[in-house]
């Protein structure tokens, strides 16, 4: 036996800490620590972004820059006096998309004025056409529409509106945002117009309808 061994025998016996004692202590430390952490305030800041007003788009068809709705736009370019058999007048109206979305459109035509004269006036509608003036301005004055696509060439009856654009059965043309196109209208008095229509008046009208393009 060694002295060392003897000393060891006489020392107070070391006791291992019991879980019953350690666990409450740990719990207390944890509580204190967590509670202490709550006292460390993070820096914060905030900023408010004011959103701009949300304005809905619009679908807006104009003719020569005019709305034509609810009051019909008076198109003076085609007006004339002194029309004789075999003569024709032509003028171009500009259909534009002044809205925010593309649309497709079509047009109908009707006529007013003297019934006899209506039966002798031929209307020709040319999408994308341009006016060709009669430079000599001598009888018979024959202004015409050139280029583009013919969509209508007949009399307009008073019995009701008829489709003049696009051609019957055709697909409504499309107009992109900010785009525009000319629609040339040519009016011709038939060369066999009866004598009875002298001095009479005639007034064609057109209604354009646009619908939002969905594809």
């Amino acid at each position: 036996m060694s002295g060392r061994h003897a000393a060891r025998r006489h020392a107070a016996p070391r006791r291992r800490p019991r879980l019953r004692t350690v666990l409450p202590a740990l719990a207390g430390v944890t509580v204190l620590t967590v509670g202490g952490m709550g006292t460390y305030a993070y820096w914060t800041d905030s900023a408010t972004v004011q959103g701009g007003a949300l304005v809905s788009g619009s679908l807006d068809l104009t003719i020569d820059g005019q709305q034509g709705n609810p009051t019909s736009y008076t198109w003076s370019a085609l007006a004339t006096s002194g029309l004789a058999p075999g003569e024709s007048r032509a003028a171009v109206m500009t259909v534009a998309n002044a809205g925010d979305v593309p649309f497709t459109y079509h047009a109908t035509g009707a006529s007013g004025g003297d019934a006899g004269l209506r039966g002798t006036m031929t209307i020709r509608v040319v999408l994308g056409g341009v006016k060709v003036p009669d430079n000599d301005n001598a009888y018979p004055i024959q202004e015409t529409c050139s280029g583009g696509t013919d969509t209508f060439d007949a009399h307009l009856d008073a019995s009701g509106a008829v489709q003049v654009l696009p051609t019957g059965g055709g697909t409504d043309p499309r107009l992109a945002k900010s785009a525009s196109i000319g629609v040339c209208v040519q009016v011709t008095m038939d060369s066999d117009a009866p004598d009875s229509v002298q001095g009479k008046t005639y007034q064609p009208s057109f209604t354009f309808t646009a619908a939002q393009a969905t594809s």
């Binding site: 619009s58 679908l59 807006d60 068809l61 104009t62 003719i63 005019q66 709305q67 034509g68 709705n69 019909s72 736009y73 008076t74 198109w75 003076s76 085609l78 007006a79 004339t80 006096s81 002194g82 029309l83 004789a84 058999p85 075999g86 003569e87 007048r89 109206m93 809205g99 979305v101 649309f103 004025g113 004269l117 006036m121 009888y139 018979p140 209208v185 009016v187 008095m189 060369s191 117009a193 009866p194 004598d195 229509v197 002298q198 001095g199 009479k200 008046t201 005639y202 007034q203 064609p204 009208s205 057109f206 209604t207 354009f208 309808t209 646009a210 619908a211 939002q212 393009a213 969905t214």
Partner: protein
């Protein structure tokens, strides 16, 4: 078999719910109307007639209208379809000889001369008339008289 009926009913109900939703996707529309200014048909001008002479013949004259183009003129009496000769598109001469066949002329009456201007190539015309007095010529007196 018992499970199929509820399944079918559920599918139908789903369709009914979804169908109105699709229909609610209405696209925007806009319209504009254009009314043309008035187009007026021309009126051919009637020209004034002048009458000179008397007795065995009178001459009726006019200045041809050139609007919108030079009209082509013809003349006749209202009592007969027989055309009177037109000279230079601006006058016609009526003689008692031409009126021999007219009962009214033989008895002494009036004769109306109708001058018609036509726009070439069309059906449009303009007419003007003048009435002459006729008395039978006796011992060199009488005949046609301008109004």
């Amino acid at each position: 078999m018992t499970l199929r009926a509820p399944v079918v009913l559920a599918a139908l109900a789903l369709c009914l719910v979804l169908a109105p939703v699709r229909g609610s996707l209405a696209s925007w529309t806009d319209s504009g109307s254009v009314t043309s200014g008035t187009l007026s048909a021309r009126t051919l001008q009637s020209v004034p007639l002048s009458c000179t002479g008397g007795g065995a013949s009178v001459t009726i004259s006019w200045t041809p209208s050139t609007s919108p183009a030079t009209l082509t003129y013809t003349a006749k009496t209202s009592q007969s379809a027989t055309a009177l000769p037109v000279t230079g598109n601006s006058s016609t001469t009526v003689t008692t000889t031409l009126l021999v066949g007219l009962l009214g002329a033989l008895l002494g009456s009036t004769v109306t001369v109708v001058v018609t201007g036509s726009l070439p190539g069309t059906l449009w015309v303009t007419t003007q008339q003048i009435t002459l007095r006729y008395t039978p010529i006796i011992l060199g007196a009488g005949g046609l008289t301008c109004p």
